[in-house]
């Protein structure tokens, strides 16, 4: 089980969290200006690296805080 570094509570067991996928995906500033392909890209395509991945978690069973963290998807190590 992952030990996830909550910025508020410190390292806690994964069961207390929910996963939020890739971090820092901004909503398009002007959605209407987007082509169908660009909109599909925003809606459906996310980074899927084997290695360092900036991702979101929410400490749903704890302090309820959303935060970003970098984890290596091959080793499960979190960047300090």
């Amino acid at each position: 089980m992952l030990q996830i570094p909550c910025p508020w509570c410190g390292n806690r067991d994964e069961v207390e969290f929910r996963y939020g996928g890739q971090a820092q995906v901004a909503y398009p500033e002007d959605p209407v200006a987007l082509s169908d392909a660009e909109w599909a890209e925003y809606l459906f395509v996310r980074a899927n690296p084997r290695g360092r991945h900036a991702e979101r978690w929410v400490h749903s069973d704890g302090c309820r805080r959303w935060f970003d963290v970098v984890r290596d998807t091959a080793t499960n190590e979190f960047a300090s």
Partner: protein, 416 residues
């Protein structure tokens, strides 16, 4: 000496076929091929088989970074069924099941196809309505499926607890009698044997790291054993697909997750069919040798490590005990994980790419094994002719742009 296909449904221990001598040639890569398939799992091998058998293409290499059928083909829970809700899925998986029934004879290899039937249990009134709808939809698509109540379920699978006082009482199920299991390793070996006889080069320990391009045309692959030129390239690389397409700047809507499964020790044959439950969330069958084989949903996070978290195992065991009190004293012998590539609509992507000469078969997520024969057939057609077979036409990359999604989160029967 080859044994004949068997169709035993009776829950008795079956002897596995004797281990054969060498089944296929191990090849070193040539410098050029008409077709290169990336990934020697079930899908890659089936594609090579059909390219040779139905399209007369014999100059083929199947490249595998590890060992043949050592990825998700070695890690799945061997369930075969076709009771999917939507027309596009019913057509594809239905075709796969037809081919499964033909394969033991066609491939002349007994891989212990056992059509013992699958029960998809429902535990709430809404699930009852959904299951009835799915059984009707299946019927309209020519797929055998019926809705059964607790009494019939108890007859089909006596070890299931269908008493109404359980925390999650079994209110009914869909029953597909033609569904079942097969020995996954032997399926791969059967395909490798036949492909090799056609002259296909099966090349292990040869990792594809990128592509050789000429403008927007893919003309070969870069590998750990040098560049290999190819007239056409077909990807069947499951969880590692995006790593490859990223090298071209081609972004495909895939997320790679761990998917875990487990087995018990060898036990007497007690479980006559396959049982799946979305609600308590576990699926379970008993292998020919006697292990209980259990699976459930993916780990929530992206992961390439072929390992998952312990709570996922804990929860599927709790779910199994809810359904099968008789399992209380069984032991977990092994757990493992594969890396599965999940799409936003829980349906696969099979078709051409913006790069000429490059074709993808990916996004099978948690459900690729059961589709193996149909994938081989339609992906071979796609690679050989350059355009999709009618069965995989709806499964192209463009559906994410047009919005014509094939949303199968329900019938996937696995939490995504």
């Amino acid at each position: 000496m080859r044994s004949r296909p068997s169709r035993s449904i009776a829950p008795k221990a079956e002897r596995l076929p004797d281990p054969p001598a060498r089944l296929w040639r191990s090849a070193d890569p040539k410098r050029t091929y008409d077709v290169v398939i990336v990934g020697a799992g079930g899908h890659g091998l089936a594609t090579a088989y059909y390219l040779a058998a139905e399209h007369g293409i014999r100059d083929i290499a199947v490249l595998e970074r590890g060992w043949l059928a050592g990825g998700n083909m070695a890690r799945n829970t061997t369930i075969i069924r076709s009771n999917y809700l939507l027309d596009e899925s019913a057509a594809l998986y239905g075709h796969a099941l037809d081919l499964w029934e033909r394969w033991p004879g066609e491939l002349d290899y007994d891989f212990l196809l056992s059509q013992r039937g699958v029960l998809n249990l429902v535990h709430t009134e809404q699930e009852v309505r959904d299951a009835r709808r799915r059984a009707f939809a299946n019927g309209l698509n020519g797929i055998d499926a019926e809705f059964v109540g607790p009494d019939e379920i108890a007859e089909l699978c006596p070890i299931l607890d269908v008493s109404p006082d359980r925390r999650y009482p079994v209110l009914g199920a869909t029953w597909q009698a033609r569904a079942g299991i097969a020995k996954h390793d032997h399926v791969a070996w059967a395909l490798a044997t036949r492909a090799s006889e056609f002259g296909v080069d099966l090349i292990e320990q040869c990792e594809v790291t990128g592509f050789v391009t000429d403008g927007d045309r893919v003309v070969g692959v870069r590998t750990s054993r040098g560049d290999i030129a190819a007239g056409r390239v077909g990807l069947a690389a499951a969880g590692r697909t995006s790593e490859l397409t990223e090298t071209l700047g081609l972004r495909i809507p895939l997320q790679s997750h761990p998917l875990q499964a487990l087995v018990s020790e060898l036990l007497e044959q007690v479980h006559p069919c396959v049982v799946m439950s979305n609600h308590v969330h576990v699926y379970c069958s008993q292998a020919h040798k006697g292990e209980l084989v259990l699976g459930a949903g993916i780990d929530s996070y992206n992961g390439y490590g072929q390992r998952g978290s312990v709570q996922v195992i804990e929860r599927q065991m709790a779910a199994a005990l809810e359904l099968f009190p008789i399992f209380a004293r069984a032991h977990v012998i092994r757990t493992w994980a594969g890396v599965v590539d999940v799409t936003p609509d829980a349906s696969p992507i099979i078709g051409p790419t913006p790069f000429e000469g490059l074709f993808v078969n990916c996004g099978w997520g948690t459900g690729g094994f059961k589709a193996t024969p149909a994938v081989g057939r339609v992906f071979a057609h796609t690679v050989a002719t350059g355009s999709p077979h009618p069965l995989n036409e709806p499964y192209g990359l463009e559906r994410f742009r047009t919005g014509a999604l094939i949303d199968e989160h329900g019938a996937a029967a696995v939490a995504h």
